[in-house]
C-alpha cells in the first residue's frame, strides 16, 4: 500500500496545533494517547507548530492498520514516526517523547537523522529490566510478567480472553471497530503487545548512536525511570543534557506541566 499524507493523517489520528516555524513532534508513551499532552499544548502551541499523533492501536488511530507483527517491537512504532515525518515532509523536527517513546524516538532518529534537530526526553528509560551488575532498570522480569498478567485481569472477558483460542489468533474479527473515546481505553491485544515491546526490551545500545542534542528530563522520584537511569543515559548519549526535576511520579508533563513546558522552551531557545 502506498502511504499518502491523507492516509497517514487518518491512520495515526494526527493533529497539528499552532503555526510556529519550529516543529515539535510529540510522541505519547505506553498506555495512553496524544491527549496526555493536553496540559502542555496551550503553552507550547502559541510558540511552536505541534504535531500530535496516536500510535496505531492507541487512541483514535485506525485499528484496521494494526499488525501484531509490526508492533511487537519498538521498531514498528518508530516506523510510524518516520512515516509521519516523511508523508508530512517535516524537517528540523524536535522530537518530544514520554517514557518508552524516548527510545522509539531514538530509533526513528537513527533511521532518518536528517529530519530531526533535537530530542526532548520526558522520563526516559532505555531498559526497564534490572540487568546486574551494571544496570538497574527498576524491575525484575517477574514484576513485568505480573504486569502482563494484571493487564489480562483488567481485560478479563470472553472476547479478549477466549476468542483467540476459538477463532485463531490471526482472526481479523478480533480487531473490530474503534476504541471508545475513554482516555486510556486500549484494545487488550494492542495493550499487551505494546507492554511486551516496552518492558521486556533493552535498547541501551542505541544511546551512543544518538547524535542529536538531547534534553533528558528526569523526575526526582519515579519508579519507572529513576534518576540513576537519567545519569546512565547522560553518560552514554554524546550530546545530552540531564535535568532532574523536583517532581514525584512518571507523568510529570501531566502533573507538573508548567515546569516541563518551561524546561522545553528554555531548551529550544538555547538551540535556536
Amino acid at each position: 500500500m502506498i502511504l499518502t499524507k491523507e492516509k497517514v493523517i487518518a491512520r495515526n489520528n494526527i493533529e497539528i496545533l499552532g503555526s510556529g516555524s519550529t516543529t515539535l513532534l510529540m510522541a505519547h508513551g505506553f498506555g495512553c494517547n496524544q491527549t496526555m499532552w493536553y496540559r502542555l499544548t496551550p503553552e507550547l502551541q502559541s510558540r511552536y507548530t505541534l504535531v500530535l499523533f496516536d500510535y496505531v492501536g492507541s487512541g483514535q488511530s485506525q485499528l484496521s492498520a494494526y499488525s501484531e507483527a509490526r508492533y511487537s517491537s519498538l521498531e514498528g512504532y518508530a516506523a510510524d514516526i518516520n512515516e509521519i515525518c516523511t508523508t508530512l515532509d517535516l524537517t528540523q523536527v524536535h522530537l518530544v517523547g514520554h517514557s518508552v517513546s524516548c527510545t522509539i524516538g531514538m530509533l526513528a532518529a537513527n533511521n532518518d537523522p536528517e529530519r530531526f534537530a533535537s530530542q526532548i526526553m520526558v522520563c526516559p528509560s532505555p531498559c526497564f529490566l534490572n540487568l546486574p551488575p551494571d544496570y538497574h532498570g527498576g524491575f525484575e522480569r517477574s514484576d513485568l510478567e505480573e504486569l502482563v498478567e494484571l493487564m489480562d485481569r483488567n481485560h478479563m472477558g470472553w472476547a479478549s480472553y477466549l476468542a483467540p483460542l476459538v477463532m485463531g489468533s490471526t482472526s481479523p474479527d478480533l480487531m473490530v471497530g474503534e476504541l471508545s473515546d475513554s482516555f486510556c481505553s486500549t484494545d487488550p491485544l494492542v495493550a499487551k503487545t505494546f507492554a511486551k515491546a516496552t518492558f521486556f526490551s533493552d535498547y541501551r545500545h542505541l544511546l551512543p548512536k544518538n547524535q542529536h542534542p538531547t534534553l533528558l528530563l528526569q523526575s526526582q522520584v519515579d519508579a519507572l525511570a529513576s534518576v540513576s537511569i537519567g545519569h546512565y543515559m547522560q553518560a552514554h548519549i554524546p550530546k545530552s543534557t540531564l535535568h532532574v526535576l523536583p517532581t514525584e511520579g512518571h507523568c510529570i508533563h501531566m502533573t507538573h506541566p508548567e515546569l516541563v513546558s518551561q524546561e522545553m522552551i528554555t531548551w529550544l531557545n538555547r538551540l535556536a
Partner: protein
C-alpha cells in the same frame, strides 16, 4: 471530619484512602489495619507505592494516574496490593480526584478475591477448552481407522500450500488411489478383514513415500497422495508405478494371504490455467477412473486437453440450451427441383441460429461442440417437430410439398430415436408420411450399422422416405449402401463443385449415378452453383438438384413466393432452353 465520622468510615468494609497528586497518603481507614496489617496512622505521609506491587506501580503510572489527571476518576482497576508482611493481595481500586480540595485523590479499595477466583477458573476453562479444541481438531483431521489425515485435513493442507508457498517454486503431484476389488474383500471376508486391508494399504503407502509427502484417506477404499515435489513427470510416474507394484504384493492377514491391486490417477501442479484444490482432486479422480476403465492395476495421467474440451462442450451446451429457450433457432428451407422439367420436388430443412450478437449462424459453427450430447438430441427433436409443423402448414395451405430433415448419426443410433419420431408424428396424424424424408448423413459416425438398418427399415415401412446424404464422402460408403436400403442418394457438393475440372470427381459422380441405378434409388445432386454444373449433371443422367444457382436456403415464409416466381419465370431465367412443368410432376 469529626471523630464520629471517622469512626463511621472505619466501619466500612472497604479501604478508604486519601492521597495527593504526588502519591503522599493523607488518610487511611481501619480496613488497612485489618486487611493489610498497617497500624493506625502508620500509612500517613507514606508514598502510595508502599501499598502497590511493582507491576501495579507501572499500572499506576501508565493508566491510573493519567486517567485521574485527565478524566478526574478511574473505576475498578484490578491491581495487587501488598500487606505490611509483604503478602500480595488482589484488589480492585477506584479513585476520584477533587479539583477543589487541593487535588486530593479519594480511593476506595476492595478485595478482588472473588474476581481472582473467577479469573483462575476462567484460566482453567481456557486451558481445558484449549485441550478440547486441539483434540477436536485432531479428530476432525484424522481418519480413525488408519490414523492418516482425512479428506478435510488434506484439502486444508493443499489450500495452505497453494496460498502460502512461493508460486514460482511450488510444484507437486496429486494422486488419487483406489483399491481394486476391495468390495470383494469386504463381501468375502467381512468388514473386519476389509478394515485390516485398509490399514495395511495405508501403512504401505506411508512407508513407500517421503516424510514431506502427505497420504490421506479420502473415504472408503480411496486414498490421496500429495507428492511434495515434481522434478519431472517421468519420475512422478515412476514413484506411483512403484506404489502400484508395492500394493499388488500379496500379504498376510489373520493367516490368510490376500492380494489386492490399485488404480492410480495423477495430475500435476502448476498448470497453464489457474486450478484450485477441488479441481485438482477431480482431475486425479478422473484419471484414476480412466485407469480403472483401462483394466485396473495401473497408472493414468490426467489429460488437461481432454478437460479443456469437456469444459468447452459444457459451455456450448449451456449456450445452445439457452438459445433454444429464447427461440433463437429457425429452420430455413432450400428447394430441390428437377432441373430438366422445372418441377419443385420439395425442400430440405436446414437449421439456422439467429444469434443476437453474431448474426445468422450455420450448424457447422455450433453442432460439433454439442455432438453426442443430450443437447444435440433436444435440438434434433425440435428440428423434427418444427419441420413437421411447417410441412403440415404448407399442405393445409394447398401447397404440394415434401420436406426433408437431416438426422444426425448420434440421434439416429440413439435408443430413443424411433420413440422420438413416433411422438413427433403423433402430433400430425393427418400428415401423409411419404412427404417426409429423413436425410441420414453418411459421414456421421455410424457405429452400429445393424441398429441404423433397423431404424431405416422401420421408417420406410411406414412410408417415410430415407436418403443417404453427402454420399461418397464416408469411408464405408459401399458397405452402407449394401446394408441400408434407402430411397434416395444425394451426391455430395464436394464432387459437384470440382466435376468440371477434376476427372476424378467426375468419375465418382458417374459411379454414384451407376450405384443409384443399380440399387434402384432416386438421385439428387447438392451444390449446383452454375448452369454448367446443372447441364453436365443432366447429361450424366442426374436431373434432380439443389444449390445456390437454383435457390439459397430461405425462411419458411418466403418459400411459397419463390415457388410462384420459379414457375412463372425463374426456371426460364435459369434454364432458358427448358420449360417448367407443374409442381406435382416429378
Amino acid at each position: 471530619m469529626d471523630d464520629s465520622a471517622i469512626a463511621s468510615i472505619d466501619q466500612f468494609p472497604v479501604g478508604c484512602l486519601v492521597s495527593d497528586i504526588n502519591r503522599q497518603i493523607h488518610y487511611s481507614n481501619q480496613y488497612f489495619e485489618k486487611r493489610y496489617g498497617y497500624a493506625r496512622n502508620e500509612l500517613l505521609g507514606c508514598d502510595l507505592f508502599v501499598l502497590l506491587s511493582k507491576a501495579s506501580q507501572i499500572m499506576y503510572d501508565s493508566f491510573i494516574m493519567p486517567m485521574i489527571v485527565y478524566e478526574g476518576f478511574c473505576d475498578e482497576i484490578r491491581v495487587t496490593l501488598t500487606t505490611k508482611a509483604g503478602e500480595p493481595l488482589p484488589a480492585v481500586i477506584s479513585a476520584y480526584r477533587d479539583p477543589e480540595n487541593n487535588e486530593r485523590i479519594f480511593w476506595s479499595v476492595g478485595s478482588a478475591a472473588r474476581s481472582e477466583q473467577l479469573f483462575q477458573e476462567l484460566t482453567e476453562t481456557k486451558e481445558l477448552l484449549s485441550k478440547k479444541i486441539s483434540l477436536l481438531r485432531s479428530l476432525s483431521e484424522t481418519d480413525q481407522l488408519t490414523g492418516l489425515p482425512n479428506r478435510n485435513a488434506l484439502t486444508q493442507h493443499m489450500d495452505h500450500e497453494m496460498a502460502h508457498r512461493d508460486p514460482e517454486t511450488l510444484a507437486f503431484t496429486l494422486a488419487f488411489i483406489d483399491l481394486d476389488g476391495f468390495k470383494e474383500v469386504n463381501d468375502t471376508y467381512g468388514h473386519d478383514m476389509g478394515d485390516k486391508v485398509l490399514r495395511w494399504a495405508a501403512n504401505r503407502l506411508v512407508k513407500n513415500l517421503k516424510k514431506e509427502d502427505v497420504v490421506a484417506r479420502f473415504g472408503g477404499d480411496e486414498f490421496v497422495v500429495f507428492l511434495d515435489t515434481l522434478d519431472d513427470i517421468a519420475s512422478a510416474k515412476k514413484v506411483f508405478n512403484r506404489l502400484i507394484n508395492k500394493l499388488s504384493e500379496p500379504f498376510e492377514v489373520d493367516a490368510m494371504t490376500i492380494q489386492i491391486s490399485a488404480s492410480i490417477g495423477i495430475t500435476f501442479y502448476p498448470q497453464t490455467e489457474n486450478v484450485d484444490t477441488g479441481q485438482l482432486l477431480r482431475q486425479a479422480d478422473q484419471a484414476m477412473y480412466q485407469a480403472k476403465i483401462a483394466g485396473r492395476n495401473q497408472l493414468s495421467v490426467f489429460d488437461t486437453a481432454t478437460e479443456q474440451h469437456q469444459k468447452y462442450t459444457l459451455k456450448s451446451r449451456n449456450v445452445v440450451q439457452t438459445a433454444m429457450l429464447d427461440n433463437q433457432f429457425e429452420l430455413y428451407y432450400q428447394p430441390k427441383v428437377n432441373m430438366r422439367t422445372g418441377a419443385v420436388l420439395g425442400a430440405e430443412a436446414l437449421l439456422r441460429w439467429n444469434h443476437p450478437d453474431e448474426g445468422l449462424k450455420s450448424p457447422a459453427t455450433f453442432l460439433p461442440a454439442i455432438s453426442g450430447t443430450s443437447t444435440e438430441l433436444s435440438l434434433g427433436r425440435w428440428v423434427l417437430i418444427t419441420a413437421l409443423a411447417q410441412l403440415q402448414q404448407w399442405l393445409d395451405q394447398g401447397l404440394d410439398m415434401s420436406v426433408s430433415i437431416n438426422i444426425d448419426g448420434y440421434h439416429l443410433q440413439h435408443p430413443e430415436f424411433l420413440n422420438d419420431l413416433t411422438t413427433a408424428l403423433s402430433g400430425f396424424p393427418d400428415l401423409p408420411l411419404q412427404r417426409l424424408e429423413l436425410e441420414v448423413i453418411e459421414t456421421s459416425t455410424i457405429e452400429d450399422i445393424n441398429r441404423v438398418a433397423t431404424v431405416v427399415t422401420s421408417c420406410r415401412k411406414i412410408g417415410i422416405r430415407v436418403s443417404l446424404d453427402d454420399f461418397g464422402t464416408g469411408y464405408s460408403t459401399l458397405g452402407h449402401l449394401r446394408d441400408l436400403s434407402v430411397d434416395v442418394l444425394k451426391i455430395d457438393r464436394s464432387f459437384v463443385q470440382n466435376m468440371l475440372h477434376s476427372s476424378g470427381d467426375l468419375a465418382i459422380i458417374k459411379g454414384v449415378i451407376g450405384f443409384a441405378s443399380a440399387f434402384e434409388c432416386d438421385l439428387i445432386a447438392e451444390g449446383i452453383e452454375t448452369l454448367q454444373h446443372a447441364q453436365s449433371l443432366m447429361e450424366l443422367g442426374c436431373e434432380n438438384g439443389q444449390g445456390f444457382y437454383i435457390a439459397r436456403p430461405m425462411p419458411a415464409n418466403m418459400l411459397e413466393g419463390w415457388i410462384e416466381d420459379w414457375q412463372r419465370q425463374g426456371f426460364h431465367r435459369h434454364f432458358p432452353s427448358l420449360k417448367p412443368l407443374g409442381p406435382t410432376q416429378k
